[in-house]
Subunit: 209 residues, 2 copies
């Protein structure tokens, strides 16, 4: 997230899926050895930021994401140019990924342990399937903003980890937007700071939805 | 600022000037010995958060703030119930404060070293007067959100210090809102974390307005 709250810049497109300036949010990750390894790339730095990503890869047993994050598209799959996701044949997840969509579709098995499961019966069903798939590991809600807002409003998140990049984007997709919830206190569980990013981790208290 | 970017909750009023839930953003300050001392109160904790406030009090030679922060009002002064500010006879600034307004008014000299100067010829003029008043100390732009946005857009801020409180307000006054600027990279100069708040400090690069 940028300091001004955006997880993508304005005008996302097939050529620039993170919108104008959105890549600036991920520079810390692009430079990290663990991120590069998960994307089949070599090199990178084995620093504190890399450890945060490595921890997430190690503890995540299943991923949930919104349709927009998966392909950038909406509506029926047939005309979606990124209908198999952004990441090529060997996506960086290496676990089962549950994609929220209104359009049913067969499971897509990729290389490297990633499979995409398309869930049409809502966020709670997707979470249940992901929990079953994760075993005793964590379920990671990867994004995007719309999915995070839905799960937060429904009271279904146990933790938030926000990577605050030192950039003002000025415009774009707001992570939290205006949730319209009652004020909700969080418990700070960890702060890791580097020159490139500040990793803020919180426990979300249980509450009625 | 709340994690979702608000510096006040919704529906600010004379009774609740920070809006619904807005006090949650300042709990870390209310508990700090230095904040309490600057407000003429006793007690409080001498912790890392208190040191951040103490540093700010020690290095600040003059303050700039918007009219809304000063009184919660707008328009002519006469009917404004908080026309002398929120803080009583001995405000917590203890230096010259330059208030941005469209309505001219005599300087107001308070107890404890605080004086309120009302500047009607714009943000640059207010900054120049504050710089002259501050001598070799810093000028602190205290807020509110509208004033911060104006100074940021004009390229007049050297540093940002954001105190991120572990709370989601869900609605309210957005600190950065949608600035509409080109993406702007910041330099992380300091991160201080406590269970109550994370103090993020950045250098803002020079740029053309």
């Amino acid at each position: 997230m940028s300091l001004d709250g955006f997880v993508a810049g304005p005008n996302p497109s097939l050529e620039e899926p993170l919108g104008a300036g959105g890549e600036l949010l991920h520079e810390w990750a692009f430079a990290a050895a663990s991120w590069r390894e998960s994307h089949g790339l070599e090199g990178g730095e084995a620093n504190a930021d890399s450890e945060v990503i490595e921890e997430s890869l190690r503890t995540t047993g299943a991923v949930v994401m919104g349709r927009r994050m998966f392909s950038g598209g909406a509506g029926p799959w047939e005309p979606d140019p990124r209908r198999d996701g952004w990441w090529g044949d060997n996506p960086p997840f290496h676990v089962a990924v549950f994609v929220l969509t209104h359009h049913a579709r067969e499971t897509l098995v990729m290389e490297g342990g990633t499979s995409f499961h398309f869930v049409t019966d809502g966020i709670e069903a997707a979470l249940e399937q992901a929990k079953a798939g994760a075993g005793d590991q964590d379920v990671l809600l990867a994004g995007g903003a719309g999915a995070v807002q839905q799960y937060l409003k429904a009271g279904l998140l146990d933790e938030l980890q926000i990577h605050v990049a030192p950039v003002l984007l000025g415009e774009g997709t707001s992570l939290f937007d205006r949730l319209g919830i009652e004020p909700l206190g969080l418990e700070v569980t960890r702060v890791i700071a580097s020159p490139s990013v500040t990793h803020l981790r919180f426990r979300v208290p249980a509450r009625t939805a």
